[in-house]
Subunit: 149 residues, 3 copies
């Protein structure tokens, strides 16, 4: 394992994964914080505790943060799987760094675009990250199968 | 690590993980695509951009794709954790391949059943994948604790 | 890899990950079971099959289980990423065990508090687990970058 952990590729993978995980944790907390500020909660006990009321359909502001958070989780999950497999697959380090850094940039742009209501930028960032994830999976998969042959 | 990556068990794990991750990515995109085709969006800026309107409660077609996607994510997450631990645990490769391939088949059936509105098949596929995940976790956990003793 | 798998830190990481994954699987199934008991479903074909009706806004009981499940997934995902990186980073085993066991205790308390409608305890458990995840990520990240230098 040590021959993998000390490499530039693994370091880039780890840093992107940590940055994306922290972004997800902050988006989740921002959603809860905004519910508290607006005093509109999903649980009746929160409304009783903090004053305010419980709602079934969210206010647009925490709703937007919630969807940005959810979209981040939906894409972080395949990145953990496909990026992690790629990082141990022995496939090209240069290609891997392009995939990982490109994913990071595209997902940062997606969050900025989602919170800033910029629909075209959001669609483009989503599509780029999506494409890079698929490339990561296919390229890593070919390398892993190659070890068996 | 190299003695793990070249094995048939790790290869099967990686291929199932890649296939499930790609399925999840395609289900997510199919949901967004269907919202665009129906011109019913979750964000007002998408409605302004592409024409159409923003809704709080989704149309049944993207709603079904969304729930199939969400259920896939909910089960892929424990598979990454429990399957990954099993793959490095040193436990039986034969049992592991049964768990992983069984999980793949059951989750493929679940997606087909969800999109095809076949409730009984969906319940059975869900239950089989659920059971295999629990077996994977318990079997892998026993093997990992065994390394410490 | 064997020099990592036989260690106390990896064993604690694996056991916390298995316990959290199994809790998530049981919360998901409890949600589906409760929908069935109340005969209020998200899919029309389930209502046709089992008797009952399909709803857009959930009944409070499965809704609460669903949100407890979702919150568990939202925190398990960064734990897989940040805890897994920490476990292979070579950083302090003692600190890692404090982070992992603290995370486990805080998330167990969060689930108990969510299902028992105890808002203050839920907030405190959420915040403790959140803080431990951020510490895990930063501490592990520093150790991984250190391998490169």
């Amino acid at each position: 394992m040590n021959q993998i952990i000390g490499t530039p590729l693994f370091t880039v993978f780890a840093l992107v994964l940590i940055a994306e995980s922290l972004k997800t944790l902050f988006l989740g907390t921002a959603t809860a914080y905004t519910r508290g500020r607006l005093k509109l909660f999903l649980n009746q006990e929160d409304a009783d505790w903090l004053g305010g009321r419980a709602v079934d359909v969210e206010h647009p502001t925490p709703g937007r943060l919630f969807r940005a958070h959810r979209n981040n989780l939906e894409n972080l999950l395949p990145f953990i799987a496909l990026g992690g497999l790629y990082a141990v697959s022995g496939a090209s380090a240069t290609a891997g760094m392009v995939y990982f850094i490109g994913f990071f940039v595209a997902r940062a742009g997606h969050t900025v675009a989602y919170l800033g209501k910029r629909a075209t930028l959001r669609r483009n960032c989503y599509s780029l990250a999506w494409l890079l994830l698929i490339l990561t999976g296919l390229h890593g998969g070919v390398a892993i199968v190659g070890h068996l042959l």
